[in-house]
């Protein structure tokens, strides 16, 4: 690990000031410390933001507002979250391990780095780690990689589970920076790799995530998360799906669907959603709609199975949401 300085801040203003001068935030540290130990990430100055008053989890009307520093464990265990947004709780519990969830913040979770093995190896080329060095995964071992939103420069999946749920639920994020506060959809936090895979998110220099707001809806209390993986815990998704269905008299009025493990960012599937609206809860309908998820999919040498697993995961998640509805 490279030597670094660590300062603690106690106000949002001080945090933003520190970040504006090029310092990096550290919250739970569950991704950053790991990467620093491998020297994949080499921040010289860290700003510990854990003392900021951003850990609150509260219900506002039917909205759920989660402070950026709220820990995964605390959010998942929150009675209001479980009641109003079981999808959020479910996706959080499916992520990481208890030890990691005790430390990891929701803000840090959204900003976590990719799990591509080559990203974490200094002696392999990686456009994300060092721009224009090449991508070892495209022609290498890529069974875990994305089939949607990839470029010739990067095909790493976004690893977060809860981000998939937040994108499905049209969550927004509130951030503050040197030029003030702004709010935008969580979905817009994530960039596609294109030819700049080292640029992962749309936060401006010095911006700090304050909170994530999840609007309540008729479908959110019965929304479900399905994570498919070879081991029952502590493994990133091969494919995951967050599904919310608003059903009246057996007919789907509204559908929201996002998937993980297949996209270079949490992947909302609006064409699949559209194909479901006005249709009955029927497996055949789900199967037809789920095939639309593969539009534009580009498999690599090792991840063709995701072409099969993705629609199956969607169908099953829709069934789960439909059963709940």
């Amino acid at each position: 690990m490279l030597p670094f300085t660590l300062e603690k801040v106690t106000s949002v203003q001080a945090a933003i000031a520190a970040a504006s001068s090029g310092r990096r935030f550290i919250a739970g540290g569950t991704t950053l410390i790991d990467l620093m130990r491998e020297e994949v990430d080499q921040p010289a100055h860290l700003v510990d933001i854990n003392a900021l008053p951003l850990s609150e989890i509260r219900i506002e009307g039917s909205d759920l507002v989660i402070g950026a520093l709220a820990r995964m464990t605390d959010i998942a265990a929150h009675a209001g979250v479980q009641r109003l947004h079981p999808l959020v709780a479910e996706s959080l519990v499916e992520g990481a391990s208890p030890q990691l969830r005790n430390m990891a913040s929701i803000g840090g979770n959204l900003l976590q780095r990719v799990r591509c093995p080559y990203f974490r190896m200094h002696d392999a080329p990686c456009n994300k780690r060092s721009p224009n060095s090449g991508c070892a995964a495209i022609d290498g071992l890529n069974a875990g990689h994305a089939i949607l939103g990839t470029s010739n420069h990067c095909a790493a999946t976004h690893p977060s589970d809860v981000a998939v749920a937040l994108v499905a639920l049209d969550a927004t994020m509130q951030v503050r920076g040197p030029r003030g506060e702004r709010t935008f959809p969580v979905e817009e936090l994530f960039r596609l790799p294109g030819d700049t895979p080292h640029l992962e998110h749309t936060l401006l220099p010095g911006e700090l995530i304050l909170a994530v707001r999840i609007p309540g809806g008729p479908d959110s209390r019965r929304a479900r998360y399905l994570k498919v993986r070879d081991r029952a815990s502590y493994e990133f998704a091969l494919v995951s799906a967050a599904a919310a269905l608003d059903v009246e008299d057996g007919v789907i009025r509204q559908a929201r669907l996002a998937v993980g493990g297949v996209g270079t960012r949490p992947w909302r599937l609006r064409t699949v959603e559209k194909a479901l609206i006005g249709k009955p809860l029927d497996r055949k309908i789900f199967e037809t709609a789920a095939r639309l998820a593969l539009e534009g999919a580009r498999p690599l040498s090792g991840n063709h199975y995701k072409l099969e697993l993705l629609p199956r995961t969607i169908v099953r998640a829709l069934e789960m949401a439909g059963e709940a509805a």
Binding site: L2, P117, D123, G140, V228, D230, E235, T313
Partner: protein, 704 residues
């Protein structure tokens, strides 16, 4: 006085020391003034080191030395091999030349005042190479198999070829056949404790606090490497945090720690990283096996052809018992086994729990399962019809064999009678349920061992032997043997292990520690009692050292193996392909059970290992440069608590008067054997899809 403590479920005598942190493992033996060493591994898979820029790194804070093949000592590397080392080839000579044989091979060692400084410097060290593309894929058509040289010897323990009858023609004539290829991925041991060595020189004498399952061999190996008499080397390792075979051999990091300590004139501590343990300390070799069975329509085996190939390095021929069980598990007049090796640009593999048997039995027991479906005969019944009266490979009786008793017991506890024979016919809600079973076997080995017993005036006893306890409970079970033999309560017996100056013991592996070391301790205890009977104690300790080994005449007369039966139930999600083990039951015939609590624990651990082999574990190498891409506990999947269901282990009553005076066959390895085929067979029963390549993953069952 007898205490009858053998056979009781005594809790671990070292349990308190372990959970309170009082037990000291290799890396806990910090020495005053020690420096820290970090190994730098090659970043190419095959080639030569052409440049090492040591100067800038030597100027970094705290750096004491940067040792490479250019400035390091030429080491004598006197010839030395124990039975744990490959019989053919020569061990890696570390930092002796510019050649890179495999990705991650040590090419430099950085020593600094603190671990941080050493890690920093190691990361900053720039090394240039000429690189060629290595050959690391066992299935690559360019790879050329060889007949293992040691297997060609007339008295080979692991013969390359064995034959009885004419298996090929009997197979051709058989009315019913199974002829398939089975593959098992490369696996790494991944014990909790990393390899670690603290090295300290005093003149020409060297002390190594070093993780080892075989301290006397580590002593001999390091003595040979440095050209010193073995008595100049002391190896100390009282506790091991799991090993599964990875610490049987003495790997280059032990040499490097000693080299570094001598070079800097201070004690040096060296702990491998988790990543380094994926290429520096051996692995279960990837294997490809053809298993062909011929049978009559009523299920009598007429032929078995077993051709197995395992990967090895270019510089050593690592052999394991891949085809051994095939010659005696079933009765059949015609058996042909052929064992080949495929030299690749990788580090030498080594023994991993159930070495050889676990892999070979996977192929055999899956093939027998396939045959049962072809014949429409229940898999247990098929095995019963081919149960041999004697070891037909050796043509001699078994000292004991309780295989069918194991099957009957495990089947009853498992509820095999509730199984519907048709594949894909059992469901639980949406889930496909499958039940599978397999036989297991492992040799009842026995090696010569010594032990010392000492009676003290206060009525307590001390036992010393250079054996190890990597976790099975050797401290406890050996204390039971000593206490019973001496007629003392267990709390008056103190057992000490893991010092190379204690009476020598064989390697702590191969499930032979209880048979070998237990017999030696029993002999030493009897000897010290005889001594005590001869003279009054008079306040002075009475001591006796004794040896024990298997009677060669008995060994020649009998075939000695443990047997077991494993039953598994899986559930497969027909939509998304998730495979979950729901429960498993094992029954084992292992002779006398010294401690049923520890024995059960051993079996549960082995079953979990077999579950990993069946469903999760594989080290994936990038074919371009041979690097393991998942050298990380997040990416190399092992079962976690949520994966592990109800596991049951039972022992059949088995009295074997031939194996040794204690009547023990040993336990540990066999618990992993049989689990993988039982699970694979259950996956077939659940899905109707036969997967012959381990681990079986979601993508393998998606296209049912």
């Amino acid at each position: 006085m007898t205490t009858n403590v053998i056979g009781t479920p005594l809790p671990r005598v070292d349990g308190r020391a372990k959970v309170t942190g009082a037990a000291r493992y290799a890396a806990d033996f910090n020495q005053g003034g020690q420096a820290y060493a970090v190994i730098v591994g090659a970043t190419v898979g095959l080639g030569r080191v052409t440049g090492i820029e040591t100067a800038p790194v030597e100027k970094m804070p705290g750096v004491v030395a940067v040792i490479t093949h250019r400035n390091g000592p030429r080491l004598p590397y006197a010839p030395h091999k124990s039975y744990i080392d490959p019989a053919t080839g020569e061990r890696l000579h570390v930092l002796q030349d510019d050649q890179v044989h495999f990705y991650g091979q040590p090419v430099a060692i950085v020593v600094a005042d603190t671990l941080d400084q050493a890690e920093r410097a190691a990361a900053a060290l720039h090394i240039s190479y000429t690189a060629e593309r290595p050959l690391v894929d066992l299935a690559d058509p360019k790879a050329r198999p060889v007949v293992p040289a040691a297997g060609k010897q007339p008295d080979a323990r692991l013969p390359a070829d064995t034959a009885r009858g004419n298996a090929d023609s009997a197979l051709a004539d058989a009315p019913v056949k199974v002829d398939e290829i089975y593959e098992i991925a490369r696996e790494n041991h991944n014990p909790m404790e990393p390899h670690a060595t603290v090295a300290a020189w005093n003149g020409n004498r060297l002390t190594l606090w070093s993780k080892s399952q075989f301290v006397v061999n580590e002593q001999a190996e390091i003595a040979a490497v440095f050209g010193l008499p073995p008595e100049n080397i002391q190896v100390i390792c009282p506790f091991i945090g799991g090993a599964f075979g990875t610490s049987l051999r003495t790997w280059p990091h032990v040499t490097l720690a000693a080299v570094a300590a001598r070079q800097v004139g201070r004690p040096v501590k060296l702990v491998l990283t988790r990543k380094q343990m994926f290429f520096m300390t051996g692995h279960r070799p990837r294997t490809l096996q053809r298993m062909a069975l011929g049978a009559t329509a009523d299920g009598k085996l007429t032929s078995i052809v077993h051709e197995g190939t395992g990967e090895t390095s270019r510089y050593e021929e690592f052999m394991e018992a891949l085809t051994s069980v095939t010659s005696f598990l079933y009765s059949t007049p015609n058996v042909q086994t052929r064992y080949r090796l495929l030299p690749l640009d990788i580090g030498t593999p080594n023994h991993m729990r159930g070495p050889g048997e676990a892999s070979g039995v996977f192929a055999l027991e899956c093939a027998v399962d396939e045959l049962s479906y072809k014949l429409g005969i229940d898999p247990i019944e098929l095995r019963r019809r081919n149960e041999p009266a004697i070891d037909e490979g050796e043509n001699k009786p078994f000292s004991s064999r309780s295989l069918m008793k194991c099957h009957d017991l495990a089947a009853e506890r498992f509820g095999w009678s509730r199984r519907l024979p048709e594949p894909r016919s059992m469901r639980d809600g949406r889930l496909l349920v499958g039940m599978g079973m397999a036989s297991a076997s492992y040799p009842a080995f026995h090696a010569p061992a010594d032990a010392r017993a000492r009676l003290l005036a206060d009525g307590t006893a001390e036992i010393e032997v250079a054996a190890s306890d990597m976790g099975p409970g050797t401290y406890t079970s050996m204390t039971q043997v000593a206490a019973e033999t001496l007629g003392l309560p267990v709390e008056r017996v103190r057992l000490s292990l893991g010092r190379s100056d204690y009476p020598p013991a064989p390697s702590h592996g191969g499930s032979w520690t209880m048979a070998s070391v237990g017999s030696a301790i029993r002999a030493a205890c009897m000897a010290v009692q005889e001594e005590a009977a001869k003279r009054p104690q008079g306040g002075r300790p009475i001591e006796a050292t004794a040896s024990a080994q298997r009677d060669p005449d008995v060994a020649a007369r009998f075939s000695m193996h443990s047997f077991g039966a494993v039953f598994a139930e899986v559930a497969v999600d027909p939509d998304v392909g998730t495979i979950r083990l729901r429960r498993a039951v094992g029954a084992y015939g292992i002779g006398r059970v010294v401690n049923p609590r520890l024995a059960r624990s051993q079996c549960i651990g082995g079953m979990i290992g077999g579950m990993g082999m069946a469903l999760m574990e594989r080290t994936v190498l990038d074919p371009r440069d041979g690097r393991p891409v998942n050298a990380h506990m997040a990416d190399y999947l092992l079962p976690v608590n949520l994966d592990i269901p109800q596991l049951e282990a039972h022992f059949v009553e088995e009295i074997d008067p031939h194996v040794n005076a204690l009547g023990v066959k040993g336990l540990g390895e066999i618990a992993l054997v049989g689990m993988a085929p039982a699970i694979a067979n259950a996956v077939f029963h659940a899905t109707g899809k036969r997967v012959r390549s381990l681990p079986i993953r979601i993508e393998d069952v998606l296209t049912v």
